[in-house]
Amino acid sequence: MGIYVLKRLLGAIPTLVIASLLVFAFIHLIPGDPASVMLGDMAEAEEIEALRRELGLDRPIWEQYLVWVSHVAQGDLGTSVYFQEPVLRVIGEGAETSAFLALFTMILVIAIGIPAGIVAASFHGTHVDQTLSGLTMLFASIPTFWLGLYLIFTVAVSLDLLPTSGFPSVLESGELSNLRYLILPAITLSAPNSALVIRLVRAGMLDVMREDYVRTARAKGIAEHAVILRHVFRNALIGVVATLGFTFVGLVSEAVVTETVFALPGIGRLVVQSILRRDYPVIQGIILVIILFYIVVNLVVDIVTTYLDPRVKLQ
């Protein structure tokens, strides 16, 4: 097991190198000189020159890359042009909102997706399954921003049950009741992601149901619900865990839109605002942080699935 973990960690190195090259290339692919683009049309020549030096743009490209990587390795992701603050701090300010939103959404996704997926698979081919599959597909077809806008209009404005937008910090004020600001966003964000998980759980369960040991369990006379939960679901769960990283990526994507609709001060809205502000170091930093997070999540998922099912290691 120890050797396997070590191997997986070493295997992540080429991925990290490719990721760093891609993220580094991002700023350099933006047409025009990054310094003058960031400062806008009104900038003085000296200002541009100063920023060029600050960003290291006057040096050869490979040197820029190495300098950038060594800075990143020390936790220095550059300086936000708009805030004049370290990028990591700017991202960190959005982290609370995004983390709470992701947590709430994942809870909803698991609470809806797993039971519904089990039901769809156990009633495979019946009306129950067809209705559930149709509904899942319908929910996956709804644009998150549209769903969010209507939830704001009906629940927050017309019925006045929940706040419409924003999210006052819980950690700073200690007010746990502020979490109610995240109920509608989490519902919005969980709709397409639950749909995905329902389909994944259903497909995973159906794969396992074809196994011989499931037939054996049924032949032994074990009650159907026990077969489903103890034999099928347990084995299908490994596949579900393996796709959690995948779900997470989808979640971040939709979070950009959801946070914008609900005006939440999270990392997703920061992306959109930074694009409008031409604050490219922040965008670059966010992409980097998310890729790193994804690589770590995948590593953890890989190690957890190997732990759950030692056969995976052999493949």
């Binding site: 080429p14 991925t15 490719i18 990721a19 891609l22 991002f26 692919l29 933006i30 047409p31 149709g134 597909m137 319908l138 996956a140 077809s141 709804i142 644009p143 998150t144 921003f145 549209w146 806008l149 209507y150 704001i152 209009f153 404005v157 995905l196 389909r199 994944l200 497909a203 796709t243 995948f246 990526v249 989808g250 979640l251 971040v252 994507s253 939709e254 950009v256 839109v257 914008t260 992306v271 959109v272 694009i275 409008l276 490219y280 965008i283 966010i286 992409i287 998310i290 890729i291 994804y294 690589i295 995948n298």
Partner: protein, 283 residues
């Protein structure tokens, strides 16, 4: 003719999917015949008839600038199909190229597939937004930005499929008969890729609608005056309390189009060779 009948046959028993297919035909007709269908110019501003509810003169009502919503939704079908088609072409051309090359040249493949894996780790919309930053806004750039998301998945799928196909005994047989790489790719690999990629293209077409609409909604897609469904929702969102129906029509157009494409894609997938099903993206 028999090919058409063969395509339509499974829809006879699946009524919801048949509805999906019918709706897509409606969207296609609306897109093709838009100038002859619409009662008003979609850009024509009528300051007096602002935010009017659906009525006999304006079937879907009018927006905040007094423009006829029905005419705009019909024209929106054009943008939707254009974007979808552009994204599918970009994703398939580059995805298939990358996928087959990677499967054929293992060393190159190892590097390329690693790059693809990293790109797939970037959330779809974030990747598209990064490309919009690099390329700028506009119809063609939106297509490339959204297309790039699906180049990676298509490359992955093509890679898996090609390796599976080239491992078959009949490929060994034609190789021993002296067939070259090019002949094998053209005569044996590509024809076998057609049906699984057709299914994939349907789903790409569907989800490209949502990605492109999201870009429009964030103000980073098509120029604001272009009547795309995403733009209509973005423009009128502030008036939702005064005219709640305003967002309903473009929203329903997006939802029904994506839903219909998914339904049709599902039917196509069910007819697919079971050996290839596992290679398709998880949806």
């Amino acid at each position: 003719m028999s090919a058409v009948l063969e395509f339509l046959a499974p829809f006879a028993t699946r009524k919801v999917a048949a509805f999906g297919l019918a709706f897509l035909v409606v969207v296609l007709v609306a897109a093709l015949l838009a100038p002859w269908i619409v009662p008003y110019d979609p850009q024509q501003i009528d300051a007096i008839a602002r935010l009017s509810p659906p009525n006999a003169a304006h079937w879907f009502g009018t927006d905040h600038a007094g423009r006829d919503l029905f005419s705009r939704v019909i024209y929106g079908a054009r943008m939707a199909l254009l974007t979808g088609a552009g994204v599918v072409v970009i994703a398939l051309v580059f995805g298939v190229l990358l996928g087959t090359l990677s499967a054929y040249f293992p060393t190159l493949g190892m590097v390329l597939m690693r790059v693809v894996d990293v790109l797939m780790g970037i959330p779809a919309l974030l990747l598209a937004l990064a490309l919009v930053v690099i390329l700028g806004k506009g119809l063609f750039n939106s297509m490339i930005a959204v297309g790039a998301i699906y180049i990676t998945t298509t490359a992955r799928i093509t890679y898996g499929l090609t390796r599976k196909i080239t491992a078959e005994t009949y490929i060994e047989a034609v190789t021993s008969l002296g067939a070259g790489h090019w002949r094998i790719i053209r005569r044996h690999v590509l024809p076998n890729l057609v049906s699984p990629l057709m299914v994939q293209a349907t789903f790409i077409f569907a989800f490209a609608q949502l990605s492109a609409a999201s870009l429009d909604f964030l103000g980073l897609g098509l120029p604001p005056d272009v009547p795309s469904w995403g733009n209509m929702i973005a423009e009128t969102r502030r008036y939702i309390t005064r005219a709640p129906g305003l967002l309903m029509f473009p929203g329903a157009a997006i939802i029904l189009t994506v839903f219909s494409l998914n339904l049709v894609g599902d039917v196509l997938r069910d007819r697919l060779d079971p050996r290839f099903k596992d290679d398709l993206a998880k949806w």
